[in-house]
């Protein structure tokens, strides 16, 4: 089936390509994992499939939530929200969009075997009111329901049934899912062909319900893993838009004719987790000096983030004291304050804490996950050393790094957090600050536990009053800020590059939304 599909696609490729079409050639660091939007939580796969499928509500180019397949919604009861669906929407295959599609899709995404269920926690039922109205029933009040739903795409129920794909994709089940290779959504683009790791071709959906802001007829997406090759392809004119573009190549790209960098602060905040357990994984002193707040303060004093920004991040990062970006709910300016760079103060604090000679610990970093992660860590290690610490730098591929983080086999470790898809500080609170209890605290550093913060987390989870919720959220994040539970580093810059003819909005979440893109030939 897929084979013959590909065959036709490949053979007809040169014929159907419109002569003077607005074709956008787009390259990213890797390919989508598959076309099923419920099968993986990978944010790139998610935004790619967003071109094909749509959620009930979506983020616009400025990351505000706006109606998509639902036109409006009402909170009927604290845990029951009614969604009124858009009339006259059809799938690419011609099927009409209705309540059954929403029921099947939400149930499928929240299935215990679906990897996506963590993105829609607490769903108990989806009930049909009429053909174009559904009630979403949650375990309890869910203030962030709409944020969750931006990430849950709607598939056609009949199409899923016909292809035996109603159950979620499950790698352990041992058979291939139909939806992995085929797509049938309501989105602005249709899938024309797909060759994994080589070329995905999307064409504009003429029957889209929304008025297109884009002028594209065709998108040719090529994954290019090697950053240098990606830049070369842009410079040679083979590609119109690359994402990401290496920061260090910015000058070269700006200097080249007809291409430019697209740079903005991103949502992803980089921070260093701190082991506050009873002992260090790899220390040379009794106990764990990192439990002492003065030591953690000394660390912040020791690191000259402005210099790291200027030299390693080429001035593009935003140095932060906060664990979330300003765009994320819960942010206040107060939590963005940093202890100033002051190596003498760092040494004094260290001595005060009883470690005038410093102490050894591991500084664990990935070397293939965040922008310039390895270099940042090397620079930090140098600065910590100069302030009297004895960091042992360990840089590893992400798989090994995050496994160690999982096992708490790290002392001071790098982690980035973008709060996606919620765009809410609660994400940081629940995953990285609350005491581990099985559902919360997945990444909370060993030994960190603040009862007041835990209390607030429980309350925020069900607080429907947005004002109160935000106040509590900010309070909780401020507590973490004062504890220096995590050592904030910076907001990672977004770094794309495009031909001058390409206009594309660059939202802080680093996701490419080509339904807003224009090519001006």
């Amino acid at each position: 089936m897929i084979r013959s599909l590909l065959l036709t696609a490949a053979m007809s490729l040169p014929l159907t390509a419109p002569a003077a079409a607005e074709t956008l050639k787009w390259a990213t660091a890797r390919d989508v994992y598959g076309l099923d939007p419920h099968a993986v939580t990978d944010s790139f796969t998610n935004i790619f499939t967003h071109h094909l499928y749509e959620p009930l509500v979506r983020y616009d180019a400025e990351l505000r939530i706006e109606p998509a397949l639902a036109t409006r919604w009402e909170v009927i009861e604290p845990n029951r929200v009614r969604f009124f669906l858009r009339d006259g929407v059809t799938f690419h295959g011609g099927e009409a969009f209705d309540a059954d599609d929403v029921i099947v899709s939400l149930t499928r995404a929240a299935d215990p075997k679906s990897p996506l269920r963590g993105n829609l926690p607490g769903l108990t039922a989806v009930e049909k009111v009429d053909d174009l109205t559904v009630d979403v029933v949650m375990e309890g009040p869910t203030p962030l329901l709409n944020n969750y739903l931006t990430n849950i795409f709607i598939l056609d129920s009949g199409w899923l049934e016909a292809n035996g794909a109603t159950a979620p994709i499950d790698a352990s089940r041992g058979e291939e899912g139909y939806t992995t290779n085929n797509a049938n959504g309501t989105g602005p683009f249709r899938l024309e062909s797909r060759r994994p790791d080589a070329l995905n071709v999307l064409v504009a959906n003429e029957g889209w319900w929304d008025t297109p802001a884009h002028n594209l007829t065709r998108i040719e997406h090529s994954p290019i893993a090697s950053a240098a090759t990606r830049v070369a392809a842009l410079l040679s004119g083979e590609i119109d838009l690359i994402e990401p573009a290496p920061l260090q190549d910015a000058a070269r790209i700006e200097a080249a004719d007809g291409v430019r960098m697209l740079e903005n602060p991103g949502l992803r905040s980089i921070m260093m987790g701190i082991n506050m357990g009873d002992s260090l994984v790899d220390g040379n002193v009794e106990g764990n000096p990192l439990k002492d707040l003065r030591v953690r303060q000394a660390m912040m004093h020791a690191i000259n983030m402005d210099l790291i920004r200027d030299r390693i991040m080429r001035g593009k990062s935003r140095v932060t004291g906060s664990l979330i970006a300003p765009e994320v709910q819960g942010y206040t300016e107060a939590m963005d304050a940093r202890l100033p760079y002051d190596p003498d103060r760092a040494k004094a604090l260290l001595a005060e804490a009883g470690y005038p000679e410093g102490f050894a610990f591991n500084l664990n970093c990935p070397n293939d996950r965040y922008v310039n992660d390895e270099a940042i860590c090397q620079a930090m290690a140098a600065m910590l050393t100069q302030s009297g610490f004895q960091p042992r730098l360990v840089t590893e591929p992400r798989q090994i790094h995050f496994q160690k983080v999982d096992e708490r086999a790290v002392d001071v470790f790098m982690l980035g957090w973008a709060t996606l898809p919620m765009l809410d500080g609660f994400s940081v609170l629940s995953a990285m600050l609350a005491s581990p209890d099985g559902s919360y605290g997945t990444f909370t550093p060993a030994g960190y536990s603040n009862p007041r913060l835990d209390e607030l987390t429980q309350a925020i989870a069900i607080e429907m009053d947005e004002e109160k919720r935000l106040a509590m959220l900010s309070e909780a994040l401020m507590l973490a800020h004062e504890d220096i539970a995590w050592l904030p580093v910076h907001q990672q810059p977004l770094s794309w590059a495009a031909r001058d003819t390409v206009e594309v909005p660059q939202a802080a979440d680093d996701l490419v939304r080509l339904w807003y893109a224009r090519v001006n030939n």
């Binding site: 790899d282 390693i312 600065m383």
Partner: protein, 318 residues
């Protein structure tokens, strides 16, 4: 025409002969008359000396992160505009002195190269002699094992050794272990070539009259292998070894590209190039050009010297 070689004498000189020939000046003469050999040797001498004397020649210990000051990052070479006399070949993004990094990196690359070649040669020659001489099931086992190993090319074996070492060692030792991981990985994949060469020569020699005669005369198997067969394969082994030395240095660079080479905090020459490679477009040319030039010089010199050695040691060529 060739002088008659009676069948009862070894076809090639015994070890004493080999050494004697080297001392008697045949090799030395050939050396004096080969431009490429002399230049290569000079280059290698300089590079070896630089590697050995790195701590004294370098302006900075690039492995001591405490010495790095980010204020001095990405300085161009001293003669270029904006250059700093302290860093005559410039600095990289982390303010490491490129000149010092090259010296230390060269040292690491050479250690990895020599150690892995030595490991491969010792393992390969031993197994080759054993297989070729004993034959039968021992030989079959060794050769099948070689097949298994060959179906795991160096890159993959390195991933394996790397993974196992990481699992077996406490995290504190990972960084120090990196160099041993590389030596083991490269050494253990390259012995097959030696083994095959030695094995086939051994099989040929085994049936020659002089070996049979030695056997009858009560010389032990080990004795025969060491005194009669080994000298005959020394030439090819030496040639393989020199070529492999260059290869090992390059393999180490490639492994670094795949993320299992030396850590960025202790860059070898290959790691420096891998890091510099990411800056090819950025205009910071000195971080990739200088290490590359040194690596090319090293590999080239080793190979040219290997070529010359092969010719010089091969009596048939003269």
């Amino acid at each position: 025409m060739a002088t008659p070689t009676p069948a009862s004498a070894p076809p090639r000189p015994a070890p004493a002969g080999l050494i004697a020939r080297a001392l008697s000046g045949d090799v030395a003469w050939s050396f004096r008359h080969s431009w490429s050999a002399r230049i290569s040797a000079l280059v290698l001498l300089i590079l070896f000396a630089a590697a050995i004397l790195a701590p004294w020649l370098a302006n900075q210990n690039p492995y001591d992160i405490g010495e790095l000051s980010l204020f001095d990052s990405e300085l161009p070479p001293a003669w270029a505009e904006g250059g700093d006399a302290r860093y005559w070949l410039g600095t990289d993004t982390l303010a490491r002195d490129v000149y010092s990094s090259i010296l230390y990196g060269l040292r690491l690359s050479l250690i990895v190269g020599f150690a892995s070649v030595a490991l491969a040669a010792v393992v390969g020659i031993s197994l080759g002699l054993l297989g070729g001489f004993v034959g039968g099931i021992v030989d079959a086992a060794i050769m099948r094992f070689a097949d298994v190993l060959l179906s795991f090319p160096t890159i993959l074996v390195a991933l394996l050794v790397n993974g196992i070492m990481r699992g077996a060692l406490p995290p504190a030792q990972h960084q120090q272990a990196a160099i041993w991981v590389l030596i083991l990985a490269i050494g253990l994949t390259n012995w097959v070539q030696y083994a095959r060469t030695v094995r086939s020569s051994t099989m040929v020699e085994r049936n020659k009259e002089y070996v049979q005669a030695a056997r009858i005369n009560g010389v032990s198997r080990a004795g025969i292998m060491v005194s009669h067969i080994l000298p005959n394969v020394l030439g090819p082994v030496l040639v393989i070894a020199t070529i492999n030395l260059g290869m090992a240095v390059l393999t180490e660079a490639t492994l670094s590209f795949l993320g299992v080479g030396m850590p960025a905090t202790q860059p070898s020459l290959g790691t420096l190039i891998r890091i510099g490679n990411e800056y090819l477009f950025s205009g910071i040319w000195w971080v990739v050009i200088f290490p590359s030039v040194v690596l090319v010089a090293l590999v080239l010199a080793v190979n040219l010297l290997g070529d010359w050695l092969r010719d010089a040691l091969n009596p048939k060529l003269r």
